[in-house]
Symmetry: C2
């Protein structure tokens, strides 16, 4: 079982503004595949399931489009939620620790999980379950917001796999997390 993070951050390490706004990120120049190294479509094609927290799920529900067609989404929540009709069979809700959810999905035959959302990523990092990090750094200081990384994790050495620099100033760094 491999768990990967694929995420964009501001240069000061935020994944969204304090209110969850990510419009600063969705600029036309970043939608162009030439502006990142490992593009989203390529990454998602290697993934068996997406694990995200409730906050991220509620955010993506507000988008015009469901971005995860063809890939099962597991939402970690302790709330008793029901997906909207058009997402029946595409989304399920689970309440479990990162280790429990990884074990359950591995039993189901899943080999590569996409871990998404600040708190969920932090929980999987704390559990030392993340194998690969692809971080696309946007050339902006937000000043405040929702941070990618928390402040109560473990020390984990990384191996840099690749750096891609776009003309727009975006820098994509891809790391393997080394087991210690």
């Amino acid at each position: 079982m491999k768990c990967s993070v694929y995420i964009a951050t501001s240069t000061d390490g935020f994944i969204a503004k304090p209110d969850g706004d990510i419009k600063w990120l969705l600029r036309s120049e970043y939608e162009d595949a030439a502006n990142v190294g490992l593009v989203y479509a390529e990454f998602i094609s290697t993934v068996d399931a997406i694990v995200m927290g409730r906050h991220s799920y509620e955010k993506v529900l507000t988008f015009d489009e469901w971005y995860y067609e063809g890939t099962e989404v597991i939402v970690l929540t302790t709330q008793d939620l029901t997906p909207p009709e058009h997402l029946t069979g595409k989304v399920r809700f689970e309440s479990a620790t990162p280790h429990e959810i990884a074990a359950k999905l591995a039993e189901e035959g899943k080999k590569h999980l996409y871990i998404d959302g600040g708190i969920t990523i932090q929980r999987f990092l704390e559990a030392k379950l993340i194998d690969e990090l692809t971080i696309t750094v946007i050339p902006i200081l937000l000043g405040s917001g929702i941070p990618l990384f928390g402040n109560k994790g473990n020390e984990q050495p990384l191996e840099l796999i690749e750096v891609f620099t776009a003309a727009s100033g975006t820098v994509q760094k891809r790391y393997r997390v080394k087991s210690v």
Copy 2:
């Protein structure tokens, strides 16, 4: 007057461990000039003065060597401090806002300030006084520590000047802060 930041962080954005420890940073592979783009010696040669906070000052006092020979160090503090004898004339203490200190040093003819230390950098960023950021990202997750960036600054767009990737996995990013 130009204000620059030249600093190393972990991949999760910390400049030191929670207790101020920076041994994770001072590895032999990072001391090698081939492992960063703009090396410290080159950067410091362009600087007229260094502005740091008391915490950074107290940290560098514990080092075997005084790293700032030939460059005046201004320590921002509200405490009534006296430098140790060997640093007389090399260090002075000021209590002022970033705008006040920048104006004062500009009046003295200083053209390029090196702004150092987490809290001091954050205060200068909040005051929109930082012109250039050189961030050397070390391939390690610390998990917790003293963050480079705070969570109460301003949105400021950046222009990427240069990226340098070392075989060791260190990525140095240099940005110009665009005025808005």
